[in-house]
């Protein structure tokens, strides 16, 4: 059981979402973050005040998955997030000690596995 963190360009968010859904990865969190990697700083000017935008907007995906889903998750984050330019982001994979589904109290792998994904699909 791993926690996969993917930090990608915000404009690639929709592509990453598509890739995750296509890989049947259906539980994740998404937050807006700011950060700095190797990309060039953007220069903006406001009435003669010139600034370098040192922090770039990024989207941070957190996906808790059972072991057989680790590689598909990484692949989806890379495929959806890649533009080939500097600043595409990073994927981090961490060991996950414990996971609990609040509704049922199930823990670990069964907590991060969607229940009857087929039922969910039919409802949509």
């Amino acid at each position: 059981m791993k926690l996969v963190i993917g930090i990608v360009r915000p404009e690639r968010t929709n592509d990453v979402l598509e890739a995750l859904f296509r890989a049947q990865i259906r539980g994740f969190s998404l937050s807006r973050v700011q950060g700095h990697g190797g990309e060039l700083e953007r220069v903006e000017t406001y009435r003669g005040t010139t600034v370098k935008m040192n922090l770039a907007e990024k989207a941070r995906f957190e996906v808790a998955v059972s072991d057989e889903f680790v590689q598909p998750t990484i692949d989806a984050l890379c495929a959806g997030g890649r533009t080939g330019e500097v600043g595409d982001g990073k994927v981090f994979v961490l060991d996950l000690e414990q996971a609990v589904r609040i509704r049922t109290g199930e823990s670990d792998s069964s907590a991060v596995t969607p229940i009857n994904p087929q039922d969910d699909l039919e409802q949509q």
């Binding site: 404009e11 953007r42 220069v43 000017t45 010139t50 600034v51 770039a56």
Partner: protein, 429 residues
């Protein structure tokens, strides 16, 4: 020979000109609310640009091409570079020529800004500026000449009080041509491209309606009967469009939408624009209600096609303007307008020429705009790159953001940066 100047009419027309000028930033606000936040400034700037570009083209050549006598197709060069525009009464009015020029300038400005709705979120800003200069020189003045400057449509008795042909249909059908020539946004049809601030859209629509009282109420160039009629019809028609739009929304989805309401206000004001000084108040209310239907149907259908006419200039302005122009042919009433009757009041001849205007105006606007953009496309890049499009036009084309919080922004010290503190210390010492 100079006629009499009426101070009441002059005072009203100065006010009306200012009201119409305000419609352009109002339109910018309306459009900016309809795009994604990363394109807010670019979209607003396309309207702001018209305040500069279209004013200059109008002063140098556009006004003359529209309002000098010339031939049936286009005006002559008598007023080029603002020659022969002075304080004497404008023929047919009791206001100074210079004021007439300014009032008509504000029409050219808003019309040029309207077209931008078709190309937001992707067209390169520098190319757009050149397009706007050409459009406001080659398209708008010709159509204004046709209906107001002594052109062939006016000669055949076509009635267009405040700009169904040169403003509404011209912008709508030019927008269609521009959307086809520039192409769809890269995410169009793949992702939901949602409006980022619906409050802007509602406020923009409200300010447009407010300005429209100058637009329509000023198009009689007086404080006379037709001006009063136009003014009041500008209140009545959009109100009816608004309520009919509510009903259409309820029938479709059991919910009344805010963007629908904003759109309805614009559609109603557009519909009454050509007809406002020619039809009775109760007919204006009927027109307002009727105008909702084709625009509503078209806008609902358009979003399901590949046609990325992004902000529905054709649906809102082109079709509602067309509805209004045709409506005059049926409902014009001499007892209200003092000019002529339409079909329902015993004069069927008018309708035929109104239909001709509703075909010829859009045809010229579409073909002309398409030709301008095809020529520009051969000379310079029309769009930003796909990557730049995904970053957003504000950062790419303007180096600014609408909603920056300053976090992570590092001040860049300029070469020769003048340090006030140090110079004060030095002089103290």
């Amino acid at each position: 020979m100079s006629g009499h100047i009426d101070s009441g009419a002059t005072a009203w027309m100065m006010t009306a000109t200012a009201l119409v000028l305000m419609m352009t930033p109002a339109l910018g606000l309306f459009y900016a609310g309809l795009v994604r936040s990363k394109n807010t400034l670019n979209t607003f700037m396309m309207s702001i640009a018209a305040l500069g570009v279209a004013t200059i083209t109008w002063a140098l050549v556009g006004y003359s091409l529209a309002f000098d006598s010339g031939d049936g197709f286009i005006g002559g060069g008598k007023f080029f570079f603002m020659n022969h525009i002075g304080f004497e009464a404008q023929p047919g009015t009791q206001i100074p020529q210079l004021l007439f020029f300014a009032f008509e300038a504000s029409f050219c400005i808003i019309t040029a800004a309207l077209v931008s709705g078709a190309v937001v979120e992707r067209m390169k800003f520098s190319t757009f500026l050149i397009f706007m200069a050409l459009w406001s020189t080659l398209i708008y003045p010709v159509l204004a000449h046709w209906v107001w400057g002594g052109g062939w449509l006016q000669a055949h008795g076509v009635l267009d009080f405040a700009g169904g042909v040169p403003v509404e249909m011209a912008s709508g059908f030019s927008a269609l041509a521009a959307a086809l020539a520039v192409g769809a946004r890269k995410d169009y049809g793949r992702q939901a491209l949602l409006p980022h601030n619906v409050v802007f859209v509602l406020l923009g629509a409200g300010l447009l309606w407010f300005g429209w009282f100058g637009f329509n109420g000023g198009s009689g160039y007086s404080t006379g009967h037709s001006s009063i009629l136009a003014f009041t019809n500008t209140l009545l028609a959009p109100a009816c469009t608004l309520v009919v739009w509510f009903v259409l929304d309820l029938l479709r989805d059991q919910r009344v939408t805010a963007i629908g309401a904003a759109t309805a206000i614009v559609v109603g004001a557009v519909g009454i624009t050509p007809a406002c000084g020619y039809v009775s108040p109760i007919a204006a209310m009927l027109l307002g209600g009727l105008a909702a239907i084709p625009s509503y149907a078209f806008i609902t259908w358009r979003t399901r096609t590949r046609l990325d006419e992004s902000l529905d200039v054709l649906g809102a302005h082109g079709l509602a303007g067309l509805t209004g122009i045709i409506f005059i042919g049926f409902f014009a009433q001499r007892s209200w307008n003092g000019v002529t009757n339409g079909l329902l009041h015993g004069h069927p001849g008018l309708l035929g020429w109104q239909v001709v205007a509703a075909l010829a105006g859009p045809a010229y606007a579409f073909v002309g705009t398409f030709a301008i953009l095809k020529v520009l496309n051969a000379l310079m890049p029309m769009r930003v790159t796909a990557l730049e499009e995904s970053i957003g036009m504000d950062v790419v084309d303007h180096g600014e953001q609408a909603y920056t919080d300053g976090e992570g922004a590092i001040l860049v010290a300029h070469e020769g940066f003048f340090d006030f503190d140090r110079s004060r210390r030095d002089s103290d010492g």
